[in-house]
């Protein structure tokens, strides 16, 4: 396949990534919206579903290698301290302990910019201090308790506002405020906008720290065969881990293989190389045996990331007729102890609604707590909660229906980049969602006017997100002589069903049944490059590459068909399942017969993902509607129904797509009502490092969920027409629930989670 190099700019988790990408000279013909599809767009159960539910699937956690050793990480029990001395003699004397690694016998590998793999300056409870390697996990764990560490405690700060105060303990030389200044965005003149407004509302909103709480803890197994390193790693980023690990260990890329065939969730907490992976590789090399390191659940809470909390001061101005004149946002959030992920959340304010005057000022501070990491749509659920709450307040002041108010300020173009969207069906989402929830019939015209102690309410919120993906991304399609097909792509299926939709796209274009396609993903040694699974970019990045490869592979197979029929290839045409003679359609040869002519040959085609269209922004949009019931005596909020109406291009598999929405909505519900990281202010340690004090929703909390896809396939975005859905699903849920709670009780809760105590306090009962 002929390829060329282009500059590729695309949206990854709100960051515009610029790379040089190799793309095909000729793009495959897009799957036009009116083209009937047999396999893609249909509900197919996951190709690996049986393996996953039967225990057959081998996760990184399950990997057991001969002579494998087990590592456990000793973590700082203090929020801020200096390690004066580490004595490992007692641990090393424990039978079964093989080695102890600390900053004294591990090279000072840079980490987080100004820190190290093991840094004697520990900056949060959970910071890595030492690694024990032993014959069993139990012995390693016991040995942790035998390592003696002298800490010199340092003053700590865990509150973001206190971290900014003069004289606050400083975590890094640069000071506690990232870059020494806020991130400021400005368009128009907000002061002028507020002067032009007839109504101005100003409020402060707060959201809590929440965790990824994915089922599979972080785990890796490092195995050396000579100078070849294989790492089995639970990761959303096999290629990125490979590159970082090779660079740190000073190995050629072709000596490092990263494997992740199955994964038990990541949600953004597994986007890059982990300290423990480097440690496992170093230890395995030195000890000459494979080393596995699996985190206990507690360490996941302490050290493996979180969605940062936020304080958001919002001010919104509008004219009497509902036209927005100005929005300003000031926000502050903690990035945790190191530079890992920021606390910015202003994209919804800047982009969802048409508004000429917008100013956002976002700050991230260091505090002595676990570093933040991107979590499913970083910034958006919290930013959307505040924005959509205050918009409802403004609408109420104006005496407008919240939906009407939003439609009045509908953004036809991307105002930040001043260009059109490839597709936007948000109006349709509003309409479909409103109808499905019963917006006009059920919503309380006067909030809180329901009779009796148990009150119902309806609320909604809007979502914007990227997910358009882009090159570079490759896939190979291999046709062998029995007509079966192997597809390889270097992304990974992190649980969303990527393997299944890849098979669907290949089966569709090759005109063969799904069970003739095998998909290999998540292995840097076997697969061509595919992107990190983050930012909802996987589907939109790799399925066009699969399509390109499939088209080309079929074209090559046509040559075999032509020789079998003894005609020139250009006289043959294709329809699903067979090649036929244009002049005599009755004369044909099936895909399998043509493939049988391959004998020991095989067709191997590498397809590349084409560039994104110039001059467009690719976004998903959507609206979620919530119906809730609030018990005003106990403060309990029960979500009865969520309607999720989204504009996401083509849904390649409505079944796995629905699962994505369910998962996102449930996670959003946990953010809205239940989940919270509790820190003790007096000692600076996290209190609820387990899954019963850290409450994720159970089946009992899960409401009726209705998913409506309102969009047409977006073939302007890419030839397959899909846009990512993993993150859009979670974004508006909490905001919709919060607005529904207000509609039910007539009192606004401006801080998440909306727990019983917050509701009772808001109602003035406690």
């Amino acid at each position: 396949m002929a390829k060329k190099l282009v500059r590729s700019v695309w949206d990854f988790e709100n960051e515009w990534v610029e790379t040089v990408a190799e793309v095909p000279e000729r793009l495959p013909e897009p799957w036009a919206p009116d083209r009937p599809l047999r396999v893609a767009g249909q509900k197919y159960p996951r190709v690996d579903g049986y393996q996953r539910v039967s225990g057959d699937a081998r996760y990184a956690f399950d990997i057991q290698l001969p002579r494998m050793l087990h590592g456990k990480i000793l973590r700082s029990p203090l929020p801020h301290a200096r390690v004066k001395q580490i004595r490992a003699e007692k641990a090393l004397a424990l039978p079964g302990v093989v080695a102890v690694f600390t900053h004294e016998n591990i090279p000072p590998i840079p980490w987080y910019g100004d820190s190290f793999l093991f840094d004697p300056h520990v900056r949060y409870e959970g910071d890595e201090v030492a690694l024990v390697v032993a014959e069993s996990e139990a012995v390693a764990e016991e040995a942790l308790g035998l390592i003696e560490v002298d800490y010199e405690p340092l003053p700590f700060v865990i509150d973001p506002e206190e971290a900014l105060a003069a004289g606050a303990p400083k975590l890094h030389d640069e000071g506690n405020l990232w870059n020494g200044r806020p991130n400021v965005y400005e368009r128009g003149d907000v002061e002028k906008g507020f002067q032009e407004a007839d109504v101005v509302v100003e409020d402060t909103f707060r959201t809590q720290v929440v965790h990824h709480a994915q089922l599979e803890v972080h785990v890796c197994v490092a195995d050396w065969e000579g100078d070849q390193l294989t790492v089995y790693e639970t990761t959303q980023a096999t290629f990125s881990v490979q590159r970082s690990l090779a660079s740190i260990l000073k190995l050629p890329l072709n000596k490092v293989r990263v494997v992740n065939y199955f994964m038990g969730g990541g949600f953004g907490s597994k986007l890059g190389l982990e300290k423990q992976t480097v440690l496992a590789a170093l230890a395995a090399k030195q000890l000459g045996r494979p080393v596995r390191i699996a985190n206990p659940r507690k360490d996941e809470f302490l050290a493996m990331g979180n969605r940062p909390s936020s304080i958001q001061k919002l001010k919104v101005g509008a004219k009497r007729d509902g036209t927005l004149t100005a929005i300003s946002l000031w926000s502050l959030g903690p990035g945790g102890a190191y530079r890992s992920a920021g606390a910015e959340l202003g994209t919804p304010v800047r982009e969802i609604y048409k508004c000429p005057n917008v100013r956002t000022e976002e700050s991230t501070v260091y505090i002595n707590a676990g570093p933040a990491r991107p979590k499913r749509a970083p910034g958006h659920p919290q930013g959307t909660f505040a924005l959509e709450s205050i918009l409802d307040e403004v609408a109420e002041k104006l005496g407008m229906d919240p939906l009407e108010f939003r439609l009045k300020n509908y953004a036809e173009i991307d105002q930040v980049r001043n260009r059109p969207y490839t597709s936007k069906y948000l109006r349709e989402a509003y309409e479909a969602g409103a109808k499905a929830i019963g917006w006009y019939e059920k919503r309380n015209k006067i909030p809180g006017s329901g009779v009796g102690p148990i009150k119902r309410g309806i609320g909604m919120a809007t979502q914007i997100w990227g997910g358009g993906g882009g090159p570079p991304a490759y896939a190979t399609v291999e046709i062998v002589s029995d007509g079966s097909v192997i597809v390889r792509s270097g992304s990974q299926d992190i649980g969303g069903g990527t393997r299944t939709i890849v098979a669907q796209v290949a089966a569709e274009e090759l005109g063969i049944p799904m069970d003739r396609v095998t998909v290999i993903m998540g292995d840097t040694a076997l697969c061509p490059y595919g992107p990190t699974s983050g930012g909802s970019v996987t589907a939109a990045s790799i399925t066009p590459a699969v399509l390109a490869a499939a088209v080309e592979a079929r074209e090559q197979l046509k040559g075999y068909a032509a020789s079998a029929l003894n005609v020139p290839a250009d006289q043959l045409a294709w329809e699903p399942g067979r090649f036929f003679l244009k002049s005599d359609p009755g004369k044909s040869i099936s895909f399998e017969e043509a493939a049988s002519r391959l004998r020991s040959n095989m067709i191997v085609v590498t397809g590349a993902r084409g560039p994104n269209p110039e001059g467009y922004t690719i976004n998903s949009f959507g609206a979620q509607f919530a119906e809730v019931e609030v018990d005003t005596e106990t403060g309990r909020v029960r979500v009865l129904k969520i309607v999720a109406a989204h504009s996401v291009g083509r849904l390649i598999n409505p079944l796995t797509g629905r699962c994505q929405f369910e998962g996102g909505i449930i996670m959003g519900l946990g953010f809205a009502l239940l989940e919270n990281r509790w820190m003790d202010p007096n000692v600076g340690r996290m209190i609820n490092t387990n899954l019963h004090d850290y409450r994720v929703p159970t089946m009992m909390e899960i409401p009726e969920i209705e998913v409506i896809i309102v969009s047409e396939p977006d073939t302007k975005a890419n030839p397959v027409g899909g846009i990512g859905i993993g993150e859009p699903a979670i974004i508006p849920t909490a905001a919709a629930i919060a607005n529904a709670v207000y509609n039910a009780i007539g009192v606004r809760v401006r801080e998440l989670p909306i727990t019983p105590y917050r509701v009772l306090e808001a109602l003035g009962k406690a």
Binding site: E142, E633, W678, D680, I687, N688, H692, R695, L760, A766
Partner: protein
């Protein structure tokens, strides 16, 4: 978790002996014990299995003697037992609201009563009076879920759902140990922190709970209400059990109001219990009982909401009991 030996006891006498020879703990369902051991809060040299002792897993109802619940009866057996459901609904309700189905299938009645505190400071290796520390971290820390009654110096809440209706029914606990058997009212089984902040129950080394005996129901009505933040797999923020009789005059008589989730022990509310007698079956009367039940509540900085919440649960439990 430290290594330990696991021994099956074949009799109560053997269990007592095994438990006193070296630092040991007894295991029934193990649902709490495993957490305690994994968190490094208990590091026994020996775990003594009680499930190998015959005769401890029966539910027997006798009109004259009442209900006997063997210590090894599982919570799901208790929840589903016809006589318990019919005559002691509050007990069945409480058993059915513990944890999750998986926990109820393994967790036992005796084990549920002997749970260790669930205070996150106690479990999380923070400074804790109960664990020998100098102060209670909850007093000036994160205390949204801590007690509003009977605290000082320890502000834990008792984690058992089952104990709440059992105290309301006037149940007794049967205990076997190295010095023989004894039986105490359940409310005396628990030690308030003011008496001894380091012990939760009166069990002495080598002693185990063998059964819970509930007096005959004799027309008493009952209800249990639990409020937790989550619909399953969660401990009570507050709970209420009411056991009472409807007199022929249409008023209430006798009975008890017991609160869970708000005190370090299952909290028998004496004034509210007394006020049951002669009370009408009206919202106003239930409201007065609810006020009395929370009399003397002393919330900490963050848990004032538990007072109105628990009052609403008292009213709800009374409504449930009289309407059943």
């Amino acid at each position: 978790m430290k290594n330990f030996e696991h021994v099956d006891a074949r009799s109560l006498a053997e269990a007592s002996r095994l438990l006193t020879e070296k630092p040991s703990v007894a295991i029934a369902g193990g649902q709490d014990l495993l957490c305690m051991m994994k968190d490094g809060l208990l590091e026994p040299a020996r775990v003594v299995n009680l499930k190998s002792i015959p005769g401890l897993s029966r539910i027997v109802y006798d009109e004259a003697k009442g209900l006997s619940i063997g210590a090894l009866v599982t919570l799901s057996e208790l929840e589903e037992h016809p006589a318990v459901r019919q005559l002691y609904p509050a007990i069945a309700q409480a058993a059915g609201l513990v944890g999750s189905p998986q926990i109820r299938n393994l967790g036992t009645a005796g084990g549920n009563l002997c749970q260790k505190p669930r205070c996150w400071y106690y479990r999380g290796h923070f400074p804790c009076l109960r664990r020998g520390g100098d102060y209670c971290s909850a007093a000036a820390g994160q205390n949204r879920y801590h007690c509003i009654l009977g605290g000082d110096p320890c502000y834990m809440v008792h984690p058992s759902d089952l104990a709440v209706p059992l105290v309301a029914f006037g149940a007794r606990v049967e205990i076997a140990g190295p010095k023989g058997r004894r039986s105490v009212p359940l409310e005396e089984f628990y030690i308030p922190p003011r008496v001894d902040v380091t012990r939760e129950t009166i069990l002495r080394p080598g002693e185990v709970v063998t059964a819970i005996v509930v007096p005959p129901a004799r027309g008493r009505i009952s209800a249990f209400v639990k409020f937790a933040e989550r619909g399953a797999w969660d401990f009570a923020v507050a709970s209420v059990a009411v056991v009472v009789q409807k007199g022929e005059d249409g008023k209430l008589m006798g009975g008890r109001v017991v609160l869970g989730g708000v005190a370090p022990v299952p909290w028998l509310a004496p004034k509210a219990s007394e006020a049951l007698t002669g009370s009408e079956l009206s919202e106003a009367a239930f409201g007065r009982i609810a006020e009395l039940a929370l009399e003397g509540a002393q919330p900490l900085a963050q848990n004032g909401y538990k007072v109105p919440l628990t009052k609403s649960l008292v009213r709800k439990a009374l409504r449930m009991a009289v309407n059943a």
